[in-house]
């Protein structure tokens, strides 16, 4: 009767209007009764008699009204809403139980949600490039498993000799200054081969780079820069911009022709570029591209490009890896100095997310164990409560309520608790994430994207529901069974512990103890590792140290000006009252940004290519070792005279202890000479040995360093560091003022 769609729609509408219809019905019925009463009065009865007669004739008005109301409802929905409201009332009446349960479950849910949001940001969310499953990084590794970049000629060879890839692109970090307008601005972007746009699926207004652009100064702009700085000028393509870029032929701005503009923002791919002032990562957008053209006749000696490729549809990573191995082996035969290099084909996500997968998995397991413990706790509480309500259950069963409804009622109670806990848990995890944000490791930039989005919220909701169900089932079933035990007296029934109940409780307790033990042991191990890491001495003393990033616009001044400028900065900063010492270094410790170089070393003969001398260059100001409290083991540090760099004065350098141990083991390194390049024409003399510093980070070995005075390497733009002994005063502000006019 009445299952056709029209009836259904009408009935739904009536359900919606239920209350209003009920009000109208009330009026209608009372009017009807009034009219009946009036009729009886007319036929001679008194008011009271008339009313009674009217009621008799009408039947039970309240019953009618109830029946009509019920007709305008959906029966199962009504039952559901009734149960839910009853559950809510009951929970409100026992605030201590409800509060404890919600708190316990919320903690578990908050922990798992927070960890899940990290996993989601790092591992689940697709990278912001089209077809990102097909993107791979071609990592070139030296024999010591250090990451190496690739030279232009090698990239060209790969492009020609492989067929697994739809496109292979090389790129590296670059920056230019754009002039004009309200202020000059330093843009962060890439030097990239033309295939870049193909690999990353960048759509352009205008065009990308073609062979014909070789030799020309051209640029493609990023979307955000175009909108922000050029006001989304639609005619920008084809115009010429004056940019301060690296130009060895002239001093001053270089005109670049704008070939195209990206139609959407593009994020940076993974970068290992050497000199950077701000590490740009996958969370930042690219401001511009300038072209790099590669061919097999390009220089082969300077490895400078990072490589990303897009696999052809249907080609697996394993297949591509096999092909790359073959090509690399071929190249090793042709160019023996590059033998020993291996190339690994790695999905881009792995490159970006790093080794975090294992760690995140462990943390997730830990968080879920926490949730299970909370569930077991609440389950036992719920069980105790359900048993205490034994009388209520028996009465309800006696009144004819089917057992499944009683069980459902109890399940609802715990599920509602679970949902509340879910809400509280999400809020807690939100705050936890915000609190943890400043502490997130910079080596996993994607973590910055960690947030509560729809996926994470969905996960939280599902965990809450599951937790509720898990917690509620056992007590509910147990409660449903109590009706068969004992009788309902005034004090209720003496609760003799049934075998089944005790075993449930025992199982819960045992499970909880086991999980807690696991968690404690795991936490203990973590703390121990952290302590161990803390105890590793970095080699320098970073307490009371402030750093400052200073750079001159590229190509506005000649290089020698860098050293002069640096000296002025240091003097100005040293003059500040709260500063006890100041110095400069190119490339801050614990961050990338230093050059490396290789050459020849007097008294050391490499036995193979892999032993060829190489070192990290640290360009420093004269006071560096004092300010950073790095001990000088032998000889002396660099002084003002080294920094002056008079013509004819010997070029002095300081080496790290690791350098001395590697190349002059057991000998006195003072006075030995180091040459740059193969073969070397440019020599420096060692004048001191400094203690090792873990510039690469606490987990890495100390680096092999060569400390140059500034005048030897003026091309470096520099960062300044300054120590403070007092906590007072905001030094950054006053420094900016002092340095202001430049």
């Amino acid at each position: 009767m009445g299952t056709n769609p029209i009836t259904l729609l009408t009935r739904l509408r009536f359900v919606w209007l239920r209350r209003r219809l009920d009000n109208e019905a009330r009026r209608e019925l009372s009017d009807h009764l009034d009219l009946l009463t009036a009729r009886y009065i007319q036929s001679g009865l008194t008011l009271a008699e008339a009313r009674a007669a009217a009621r008799r004739q009408f039947g039970n008005a309240t019953l009618t009204r109830e029946e009509v109301y019920r007709m305008n409802g959906i029966q199962w929905l009504d039952g559901l809403s009734h149960d839910v409201r009853y559950a809510l009332r009951h929970l409100r009446r026992t605030p201590r139980f409800s509060g404890t349960a919600v708190l316990a479950l919320a903690l578990g849910i908050a922990a798992s949600t927070a960890i899940f949001s990290a996993s989601e940001a790092l591992l689940l969310r697709p990278l912001p490039y089209p077809d990102n499953e097909r993107l791979v990084a071609l990592r070139s590794l030296s024999p010591e498993h250090l990451y190496e970049r690739v030279s232009a000629a090698t990239l060209a060879d790969w492009q020609l000799q492989t067929s697994s890839f739809q496109a292979i692109a090389g790129y590296r970090w670059y920056s230019v200054d754009v002039l004009g307008g309200a202020e000059n601005e330093r843009l962060k972007g890439l030097v990239a081969t033309p295939e870049f746009f193909n690999v990353f699926g960048v759509t352009l207004v205008g065009r990308g780079f073609l062979e014909a652009d070789r030799g020309r100064r051209v640029i493609v702009l990023g979307h955000d820069v175009w909108r922000r700085r050029f006001d989304a000028d639609a005619t920008l393509v084809g115009k010429t911009l004056a940019l301060n870029a690296r130009n060895f032929r002239q001093v001053g701005p270089t005109p670049h022709v704008v070939l195209g503009v990206a139609s959407a923002a593009v994020r940076f791919p993974p970068l290992t570029a050497d000199f950077q002032l701000d590490l740009a990562t996958v969370v930042d957008t690219i401001d511009f591209w300038v072209p790099a053209f590669v061919s097999p006749s390009s220089p082969r000696q300077n490895p400078e490009l990072d490589i990303v490729a897009k696999l052809r549809p249907g080609v697996t990573v394993a297949q591509a890896q096999a092909e790359m191995d073959a090509v690399v082996a071929q190249q090793a035969k042709q160019y023996p100095e590059s033998s020993g290099l291996r190339v690994r084909v790695m999905p881009l996500r792995e490159q970006i997310a790093g080794t975090s997968r294992t760690g995140l998995l462990l943390l997730s397991l830990g968080a879920w164990m926490l949730l299970f413990i909370a569930c077991a706790d609440v389950a036992m509480l719920a069980l105790a409560r359900a048993l205490a309500r034994h009388r209520e259950v028996t009465i309800r069963a006696a009144l004819g309520e089917p057992r499944w409804r009683i069980v459902r009622q109890f399940v609802f109670e715990v599920m509602i608790l679970g949902l509340f806990a879910g809400g509280v848990g999400v809020v807690m995890s939100f705050f936890a994430i915000e609190w943890a944000r400043p502490w997130l490791p910079a080596s996993l930039p994607l973590l910055r994207e960690m947030t509560i989005n729809t996926t994470v919220a969905g996960f939280a909701a599902i965990s809450a529901l599951l937790a509720g169900c898990l917690t509620g089932i056992a007590p509910a079933l147990r409660a449903g069974r109590t009706q068969s035990e004992g009788f309902v007296g005034r004090e209720g029934v003496g609760l003799t512990p049934s075998r089944r109940r005790t075993s449930l409780v025992r199982a819960c307790v045992a499970g909880e103890v086991a999980l807690v033990l696991i968690l404690l042991v795991g936490a203990g191990l973590l703390v121990r590792s952290a302590l161990h890491a803390w105890q590793i001495h970095p080699g320098l003393d970073a307490s009371n140290l402030l750093t400052m990033n200073v750079s001159l616009p590229e190509n506005k001044f000649t290089w020698n000006h860098n050293a002069v400028f640096a000296r002025r900065v240091v003097e100005a900063v040293r003059a500040l009252p709260s500063v006890s010492g100041a110095t400069v270094i190119q490339g801050l410790p614990m961050r990338s940004g230093s050059f490396y170089d290789s050459g020849e070393i007097e008294g050391f003969v490499p036995r193979s290519d892999t032993e060829r001398p190489a070192w990290r260059i640290r360009v420093i100001g004269s006071d560096y070792f004092n300010v950073m409290r790095i001990p000088i083991i032998r000889g002396r540090g660099l002084d003002a005279r080294d920094e002056e760099g008079e013509v004819g004065y010997t070029r002095h350098v300081v080496v790290s202890a690791s350098f001395a141990d590697r190349y002059w083991p057991g000998e006195n390194p003072l006075g030995k000479r180091i040459g740059v390049g193969h073969p070397s024409t440019w020599w420096m003399t060692v004048v001191g040995v400094a203690g090792n510093v873990r510039y690469g980070g606490l987990e890495a070995d100390p680096t092999v360093d060569l400390y140059y005075p500034q005048t030897l390497f003026p091309q470096a733009a520099m960062a300044a560091s300054q120590p403070l002994f007092s906590d007072t005063s905001p030094p950054a502000g006053c420094c900016v003022e002092t340095l202001g006019p430049h």
Binding site: T10, F14, E28, G59, A61, L63
Partner: protein
């Protein structure tokens, strides 16, 4: 006629629905009280139904869209809900009247036959 005053025939739901539909068809739009009076009148007081059941019938009919409801003004100038039959309702009425008559005929023949037997 005398004993019928105390006769309360139990009316099945469906029959009451049919009666309400027919009432609205022949009398035009009526309010609930009016429908009850008309049924009382037509049945010559034989049928004493609980007048409340009229309202459940009316709700059922509204669900099936055989009648529609609207507010109007009654004879004594009071606001009242008037019900009217719809086109679909008329069709249903015709169908059910047809069924009813057919069944009545069959029953009459059956019972007539039974009465004839000795």
């Amino acid at each position: 006629m005398e004993s019928s005053r105390s006769t309360r025939l139990e009316i099945l739901q469906g029959t009451l629905d049919l009666m309400v539909l027919q009432t609205l068809e022949s009398m035009g739009p009526l309010h609930g009280y009016g429908i009850a009076r008309r049924i009382e009148q037509v049945s010559q007081d034989v049928l004493k139904l609980n007048e409340g059941t009229v309202y459940t019938a009316l709700m059922r009919l509204q669900h099936r869209r055989w009648i529609s409801a609207s507010w109007g003004v009654s004879e004594n100038n009071r606001k009242a809900r008037f019900y009217a039959i719809t086109t679909a309702g008329r069709r249903q009425l015709a169908r059910e009247a047809d069924d009813w008559n057919r069944i009545a005929g069959i029953m009459a023949r059956l019972l007539g036959t039974a009465a004839r037997e000795p």
